[in-house]
Symmetry: C2
Subunit: 478 residues, 2 copies
């Protein structure tokens, strides 16, 4: 049985002067004059442990592992990245930088690491590290990123499960084009040199393809999760989503994860309150459960990160209508503020506009509400004014839009009219209209791009650096 470095750090006193056994990977190693030091990381904890070894290393012939036991000189030659098992005594070092170290009694080689190891001690560019996605979790930065990703993900589940939301695994394969939210990937089992034949009307005839109908990768889980509110009242989906956008910017990925809750007997206010609680819950969870990682981001990725997160976690999120935001922007323009795109009622807000409202006007998280109908999705609930819908986007300083959501149109006639208005294929949404035909209910929901949230939590600036194996236009490795 191996001890875990996390446990040694958290219960040091209990292990003091006791024999421990740890397995891990060498981060740094040096030796001279009969004494050597290894920084060993076992993956259970962000911090490494200092191993001290001397000429007294046993060859441990009695061990089952004896052929792999190393003497002082062999240990001294171990390179960065090598995997070893160490047995030794834990010694408290209250005056040193680390609270304890391990005096090795025996060291066993698990896996050597030759000098062509791509991750030598020097710092590497993120761009280079993206080309070795299978090795970068061994670096400090990506060990921190992916642990925070795991914890944030669990925080999301905990938040909803505690509130009795039911997690629905919405499908990835879908015949629906999902509100026209983005470019679609098509899925097929036809051979690469086969194409879909046309039927007599000149339309694609999918009868020879796997599903006998068109199949796309989902661009949202929202439409599919919505029917479940009639079974469970409060539900959410959290899974991968696909957009075939032909751009490879720092914020675009072809595959990413979305959090999408949906709530019956809920209106726009209920959505905004729930999303605010979610954002705060995840921030607090990550700060509490990954303090070492968050300190690393603070020190190496973004100064002021922790203060920024703490202030959001304790802020009251404010609210401002789209219409008022346009007025504020136009007033700012009159007062000499320069925008690349002149703010105009009816146009979608540009990042420069969102940043001005969020960072210069409020300097706090702010919900922009009641957008013009024509720049939002067909299922959003029409307001009384006939021009706007009960939608709201949460803007946060430094990132812009973090959450988008709305109250949904529960009135059958209004929704039917919207399907025509937005020139959608009515037949494709017939099942969705059933939700209004049979026991319809006032409801609301929202979506959080999980990677954008992670960038906000970690300070990482490129979406490809918070995804295990990023996929984007022209970019996919194994």
């Amino acid at each position: 049985m191996y001890n875990k470095i996390k446990d040694l750090y958290q219960n040091t006193a209990q292990y003091a002067e006791k024999s421990v056994k740890i397995g891990g990977w060498i981060r740094t190693a040096r030796a001279s004059k009969g004494i050597g030091f290894i920084e060993l990381n076992d993956g259970t904890f962000f911090r490494s442990v200092q191993i001290v070894f001397e000429g007294t290393l046993e060859s441990s012939e009695s061990s089952e592992n004896s052929e792999n036991s190393l003497n002082f000189d062999e240990t001294a030659k171990l390179g960065v990245g090598a995997c070893v098992t160490v047995t030794g005594r834990l010694v408290e070092t209250p005056t040193a930088k680390q609270p304890f170290e391990i005096k090795a009694t025996a060291i066993f080689l698990e896996g050597a690491c030759p000098t062509n190891y791509p991750l030598q001690k020097k710092r590497h560019s993120y761009e280079f590290l993206r080309t070795i996605a299978h090795l970068r979790p061994r670096t400090n930065t990506f060990a921190a990123v992916f642990r925070v990703r795991s914890l944030a993900s669990h925080a999301v589940h905990e938040f909803f499960q505690k509130r009795n939301f039911v997690y629905v695994h919405t499908p990835i394969l879908t015949g629906n084009d999902g509100e026209g939210a983005g470019e679609l990937f098509r899925v097929t089992t036809l051979k690469p040199d086969e194409k879909v034949e046309k039927n007599e009307n000149g339309e694609p005839d999918y009868s020879k393809d796997f599903f006998g109908t068109k199949a796309n990768l989902a661009v949202t889980g929202q439409l599919a999760v919505e029917p479940f509110i009639m079974g469970f009242r409060d539900v959410y989906t959290f899974g991968p989503i696909f957009r075939a956008e032909h751009s490879a910017t720092t914020t675009h990925a072809a595959e990413f994860w979305m959090i999408e809750p949906e709530m019956a007997f809920a209106d726009l206010d209920n959505y905004m309150e729930t999303a605010e609680e979610l954002v705060k819950y995840v921030i607090n969870y990550v700060l509490a459960n990954a303090p070492e990682e968050m300190e690393f981001f603070e020190n190496w990725i973004e100064k002021g990160l922790i203060e920024r997160l703490k202030s959001v976690a304790s802020a009251d999120f404010t609210r401002c209508s789209y219409t008022k935001a346009i007025e504020l922007l136009q007033q700012a323009e009159k007062d000499g503020k320069k925008f690349e795109y002149p703010p105009k009622w009816g146009d979608d807000l540009q990042t420069e506009h969102e940043r001005y409202i969020c960072e210069e006007v409020y300097n706090a998280p702010v919900y922009l509400t009641d957008y013009p109908r024509d720049i939002k999705a067909f299922y959003m609930r029409q307001n009384e004014d006939g021009k706007t819908v009960a939608a709201a986007d949460l803007l946060v300083p430094g990132v812009g839009e973090l959450v988008g959501g709305s109250q949904r149109e529960e009135r059958l006639d209004k929704l039917e009219e919207s399907i025509v208005h937005f020139k959608l294929n009515a037949e494709e949404y017939d099942w969705y209209l059933d939700l209004r035909r049979f026991g319809g209910v006032k409801h609301a929901g929202f979506g959080v791009g999980f990677e954008r949230f992670l960038m906000y939590l970690t300070g990482m600036k490129n979406i490809r650096d918070v995804i295990a194996y990023p996929r984007a236009f022209g970019q996919m490795s194994y």
Copy 2:
């Protein structure tokens, strides 16, 4: 603010004689002689609440919702499936079947439900309900199934997070063919009437497709999660997986979820212990957190279900080598047992064989270990005998294989030899070999088909009845 029925059941005394407000859907309704009864379900709890209404219903003119308020006759006409909001007084009924009822003071219509509602009170076949996947969560059976699915999913996360495993979101889009584990779906942005051209060597030239290379849907997350053990020691992935199998049986789906943990410094025994703990944890979690749903399955889906699950949760999982299993099967044959396929060393075990070993020999969960190399995956660790690998499948009574896993081959030369032996494309696995070239480590992992586990937990007999929107060969609706 709405009260939740779950809360009313769990804290009945506290609400006694108080005014409450609940919103939900009518399961049954009847009225006569000035008194009516509604079974109302709000989705927060498996059980419904009895609403009693009389001629004294207020028209609630003062309410913002007044135009929707219903009098006695209007309420009496409400059909199954209609959505209403009820305000009333909670009255304890200690001598009745239900611990309390609500004496309605006002009832508001949220959404009517006309008589063409497909879910009338009578029982429907699962086959029919599959055609209305957007409505079936409103039935008792599917409300139970999908709540258990949500809870089991959360139990999986809790199990691993408590043990410091890091959750990795492995990619769905992959250029890898994943150990040849199944038929692949191809992903493309070429138009349906476009095909992939061939290059001068006659091979598909993907340069005009989105990624510039072939792109498939993942058939496993295992290979992609494995590198993360070098960053975190213990990791898992839990997400959708795709197999384009041209069969539509009760156990095949084109899209399903897999739980795939991977552990460094771990051998076959460690895998078996961890998987045993996981299975027990999830069973206990579901029994504790969904007692009403589990009782429903016991009464309506499978008699003896709860006893079966409890016995597994308290059993010591036993172990039996593949070689010994073959001997037992052959002995049984000599003793007169008839098998459709004669058991023979080197052949894969058939379901009839697995059931005999598991149900007739042991009548308990049993790990079959050390399978012949040639019927298992290339990455499994070769045993000393040169014929078998350190693999194990967990068989459980009634279902057969529930978990499959192995110790992985950490020796570079052996793994290289296996890639040749299994006629795989060495170039495609070069990155995977890096995990053995640089700081390799003894490790093990396993996979659990989440739907199969759910069928085991609920007694449901068709995989399509534990998936929100099932996809299979020739079958996909919206």
